[in-house]
């Protein structure tokens, strides 16, 4: 799988609006293009790994197959903050930071709504996540519809996701947060296995469930907020890649998390190549490509699994 990853990274570096052969790409004058493409690859790996691992964690602790990273309200919170910021004329430079704060605020609201007597039940968390997401989304659409600021339509890229990150420093710090977050989550891989059997079962297996849940939810919140603030909403990856991994590898998180990161990186880089090349110099939003490729891929795996039983 490492080989496949290297292969797609190579393909991603060679592909772009300006067709440049490999030998020329390495020349000094093309260094800028190479760097730009490397940044995209880094963004794709961060987004893929981060969202996939977050999806796996939420599916395990909420024990719900429909759980995905944005369930905690990050996407709508970040979206609302970005839309409000643009409509009152805040410069685009501050956008990632505002989006990040919007995401964090919405997660805090979701978490507080779900909390009862010091513990968080999975069902409450799902419900409050959905309620907050819908409410924030409605306010966002409302703001867009009454706004007279033309710039707001420029936000469309954000709603469908993009791997084009303009500020390398920002991308590096986000990638750093994502990878440290993923490593921390991996420390809890065996706990996630136990939690998959149910919360009470996990306690019987020695997992301090409420503490572990709090740590994991905080890590997921941090990772998704960071990602959503620079790349917008890239749907489907965090839902479909975990399921594809479960179908093909089983349910052991000690295996699922690292292989899931690899697979998700390959998937995202491939989607990025397609999104850049399918319509010539124009770029199709990556969120659309992930959905269009992910859905049939998942369907094939799912059917094959059913037949194998």
């Amino acid at each position: 799988m490492f080989a496949v990853l290297l292969l797609v990274i190579g393909a991603a570096l060679l592909n772009g609006p300006a067709r440049i052969p490999l030998r020329e790409l390495l020349l000094q004058e093309n260094r800028q293009i190479l760097n730009l493409r490397l940044l995209r690859v880094l963004a794709a790996i961060s987004v893929g790994s981060g969202l996939t691992v977050c999806g796996m964690v939420l599916q395990a602790i909420l024990r719900n197959s429909l759980a995905e990273p944005y369930l905690l309200g990050t996407s709508s919170g970040a979206g609302l903050a970005a839309v409000i910021a643009v409509s009152i004329g805040v410069s685009g430079l501050y956008l990632p930071f505002l989006a990040f704060f919007g995401a964090i605020i919405s997660i805090i609201i979701v978490y507080c709504l779900a909390r009862e007597q010091g513990r968080v039940r999975p069902e409450s968390l799902i419900l409050s996540g959905v309620v907050v997401s819908i409410a924030f989304h409605a306010i966002m659409v409302f703001v867009v519809s009454i706004s007279k600021n033309e710039a707001i339509y420029g936000l469309a890229w954000w709603l469908w996701g993009s791997l084009q990150v303009l500020d390398p420093g920002l991308l590096f710090s986000v990638s750093f947060v994502v990878f440290s977050g993923v490593c921390l989550i991996y420390l809890f891989a065996q706990d996630l296995n136990a939690i998959s059997l149910g919360e009470e079962e996990a306690v019987h297996l020695g997992v301090r469930i409420e503490t572990v849940k709090k740590i994991l939810i905080a890590l997921v919140a941090l990772i998704t907020s960071c990602l959503v603030s620079i790349c917008g909403i890239i749907g489907f990856v965090g839902l479909i890649v975990p399921h594809m991994m479960r179908l093909s590898l089983g349910s052991n998180h000690k295996v699922l998390i690292p292989i899931g990161c690899l697979a998700a990186s390959i998937f995202m880089i491939t989607c990025d190549i397609i999104s850049r090349s399918v319509a010539g110099p124009l770029e199709v939003p990556i969120g659309i490509i992930t959905a269009l490729i992910g859905a049939p891929l998942f369907f094939i795996l799912f059917k094959r699994q059913q037949k194998a039983r």
Partner: protein, 266 residues
Amino acid sequence: METLFEVENLRGGYHRRKDVIKGVSFKIYKQDILGIIGPNGSGKTTLLRLMTRLLNPQAGSLRLEGEDIRCMGLLEFCRKTACVGQDMSINFPFTVFEVVLIGRTPHLKRLQFETKKDLAIARDCLSMTDTSGLSGKYLDELSAGERQRVIIAKALAQEPVLLFLDEPTSHLDITHQIQILDLLKKLNRDNGLTIAMVLHDLNLASEYCNRLVLINEGSIFKEGAPEEVLTYQNIEAVYKTVVVVEKNPISNKPYVILVSGRKHGN
């Protein structure tokens, strides 16, 4: 007999109803099979949840091998005891072997993969519960009886000295009820496993348990051998139902016969 687990003046319950268990004291002896019986809502399951650290007691103490379990780390407690809950719902495709292997969790260090020894223990647990043939199957393909045996195998993989069970026979037909309880009896006899279980069926409790604790409204009504606990007076007082208690002709254990249509006191 040597005491393995001691419950002393235990009080506790849930957030909204804090006093489900109102001061309960009893002992679980080594290599014993203890049955906890009582009507619906009497607090049997709550008692078990307090004993397995799912709930925190309001007052009283619980001691395992003489040591207060609150001073013991949760992991250490789970290396010595295991619990088979009422139902385990799984949304993911786990195979039988994977589930049993998860029983090794309290023995694994962080980031440690299962060693050959863990795999060998898991296989032993499968063969002890007669489920080796199911090893590669998915849990949702099993019948209720097979599933319960796998869950017991998972608990055994924790290598407990004390096994708690909450109504292990509740969804099973008579064949599988006997099969599960025979299995527990065998584990008790051959491996010296101490067992404490909540049971609904008085006659099964009488057949399989050496000692019974009869709970009524959060307190112990009567404790002792089946012959002492399962008298018609005790049962009528607690269950408010008229019964006749006979002897099982084979085992000589008390046998409770229900009498239809008669409320106690009529």
